[in-house]
Symmetry: C2
Subunit: 365 residues, 2 copies
DNA sequence: CTGAAAGCGCTTACAG
DNA sequence: CTGAAAGCGCTTACAG
């Protein structure tokens, strides 16, 4: 029979102080030892049941399972982890100002995918915000200390100190992968990215082909790969032919991927080119802000101004009119990120993955 | 001098297989033992340095610190945790459909507060979504197993199975607190809530006092405390006097706290009462949806229809016109939640905390 | 101030 | 299929 197990005074708990002995004993958490005693087997057998029940007789297994239930046993995470060197926790590290996580539905789709995939490997996804050096150092420390099996980094900027920390941690065997193309120090980390430069060129070409002649871009921050590459794609859509055809481009850069910056940039574009007839915004959220300003300025979309976004987040579908955009295959990204992460956990150095974006043409262009 | 420490073949690592001996040794993570050897002290001394450096001579401390840096030592989380029974990880469990986390900026403010407070106690906040029984069971298991020091539950519905699980875990000493008033099984959990019933009554009174006579409510889901109590507050604002004054109320209930449901409910209200002159929405997000519908229906706010929200989230300030609303003191909530959580970790059963909401009057009413 | 030793609660060869 | 024993990497009295 089980000893105590948190429900009564435990004999081995220490000295009994005469009259004060009725003080409630601290609820001692049952251990594998209690289960063994309760089930009448050895601790080894309990452990085997805990780990899949191989090489255990059906009777023993049943007794152990029943004992666990009866004393409501839960295995100590740290003790298991100390042996197995696995924790079952994976962190999605969002290296972005806290408000942004909630404003941009982009990460949302990634989270859904990861939340679905990781449990199949007995892993749980934890989201954590790390937008300064202190918090980034803390989360990398937790990776190295074994609290986390791995880190999936997203929304990082080129100069984020976390890149260097992760590269160093990787040398020591840690598993860290990046969602997007890492800039700067992080280039050595496994990552999953998209051909956003190509998609941006095609999207811009699409605007030109529809007869637009004065085309602006609201580019993302220059210290993000999306900011740089989507701008590069936009630029590459213009050549001698388009110049000859009288096509002009206008560039503005948003400080971050917020609706607010979309508004600001759109106002700037309108000031610089009153007769603008098309805008490519480097994210749907930026496009949403731009749409607001166009509405208030009395410009019809797409009548007066064609508007395209990027990401194909829920915002693009909900906008009025719905936005032409480029779809980032977040579900595929999630699959590949998990694959790379597990490769890293097996000590492999996987190749980066590059995925295609799909053009989604809607009423806004 | 340090032995190997992951940079070369370790002598004690096992047999050497003749010609295959050049296979790169698996990068063995340095342990406290390596630090001790490298610093020329005992493991006890290293451990003392690790834990604050009390009772350690300055020279020994310096040697240890230097050795740690040199071999880039990181203490094993599981080994420490096995001894200290603390993990340093706290989970904010969002028991809500995944999309909602990102749509509603409400949790955002709570996250900011917690992210600021917990590190002061050497704890890190991890956000995890648990919207079904399986994932709720998993996260509670992680609490009981010691992976998590505590759980802060938010956005839970009355019938969420996690309530019963947490009550049981609490019996075994686990630390779990609830942001909001738990319904059903969860009533026995420590929690921090607000006087939203009072605030709703005052907000409704405010509409009546401004001369509004046909007043609708978009209530939240009936299986959330906010849904029930804000509706109760609304109802309590009507009595014989208001009836005598010709004031009529209309009730509609949203299925969830989304902008989409705000729109649907607003359309329903307009159908039932074309001459509605005021609406109280049980959250700013619901109000945002209602505002959209009113705009499209050509009703001026507040000219034709006064509109009030709840929460005082960023949405209320950004709306056009800015929304009258009730401010939930999320910063205070964060402080109290952390306080209750730590009380639970010390084995105390803290009393629930109830905070006041502040009425914020803006242009929409 | 310091080190040897026991112990935290598991897993995993090993021998039977 | 089962149990005794060693070990995972720390912390913490304990004795000096």
């Amino acid at each position: 029979v089980a000893r105590g197990c948190g429900t009564g005074p435990t004999l081995a708990a220490g000295p009994v102080w005469g009259r004060i002995s009725r003080v409630p004993s601290p609820p001692r958490t049952p251990t594998i030892r209690d289960v063994a005693t309760a089930a009448g087997v050895s601790r080894s057998t309990v452990s085997r049941v805990l780990n899949g029940g191989d090489r255990v007789s059906p009777e023993a297994a049943a007794a152990v399972t029943e004992a666990m239930r009866r004393i409501s046993y839960v295995a100590s995470h740290s003790a298991r982890s100390l042996n197995t060197r696995r924790s079952g926790a994976v962190a999605l590290v969002v290296a972005e100002r806290q408000e942004r996580l909630f404003e941009d539905p982009t990460s949302s789709v990634l989270v859904r995918g990861l939340n679905e995939l990781l449990p199949r490997h007995d892993q749980t996804l934890y989201i954590t915000l790390a937008d300064d050096e202190r918090s980034q150092r803390a989360v990398v420390e937790q990776l190295r200390s074994g609290l986390l099996d791995g880190i999936i980094l997203t929304a990082a900027h080129a100069d984020d100190p976390i890149f260097a920390m992760l590269v160093e941690a990787q040398l020591a065997g840690a598993a860290a992968v990046v969602a997007a193309l890492p800039l700067g120090a992080g280039r050595k980390l496994p990552h999953v990215t998209v051909r956003d430069q190509t998609a941006s060129r095609l999207l811009t070409r699409h605007l030109i082909d529809r007869g637009r002649r004065r085309i602006g871009i609201i580019a993302g921050p220059a210290d993000t790969s999306g900011g740089r590459r989507r701008l590069a794609g936009f630029r590459s859509a213009f050549d001698k032919r388009t110049t000859a055809a009288g096509v002009t481009s206008f560039v503005t850069v948003a400080k971050d991927y917020s609706a607010y910056e979309g508004e600001r940039a759109m106002r700037e574009l309108l000031t610089r080119a009153r007769d603008l007839d098309a805008v490519f915004a480097a994210s749907d959220l930026l496009a949403t802000g731009a749409l607001n300003v166009l509405d208030r300025a009395g410009r019809a979309v797409p009548g007066d101004v064609a508007l395209a976004g990027f990401d194909d987040s829920i915002l693009a579908r909900q906008a009025d009119p719905p936005l032409t955009t480029a779809r980032i295959p977040f579900d595929r990204m999630a699959v590949e990120l998990v694959r790379l992460l597990h490769a890293r956990m097996d000590g492999v150095h996987p190749e980066p993955v590059v995925l295609d974006c799909e053009l989604i043409l809607r009423a806004s262009t």
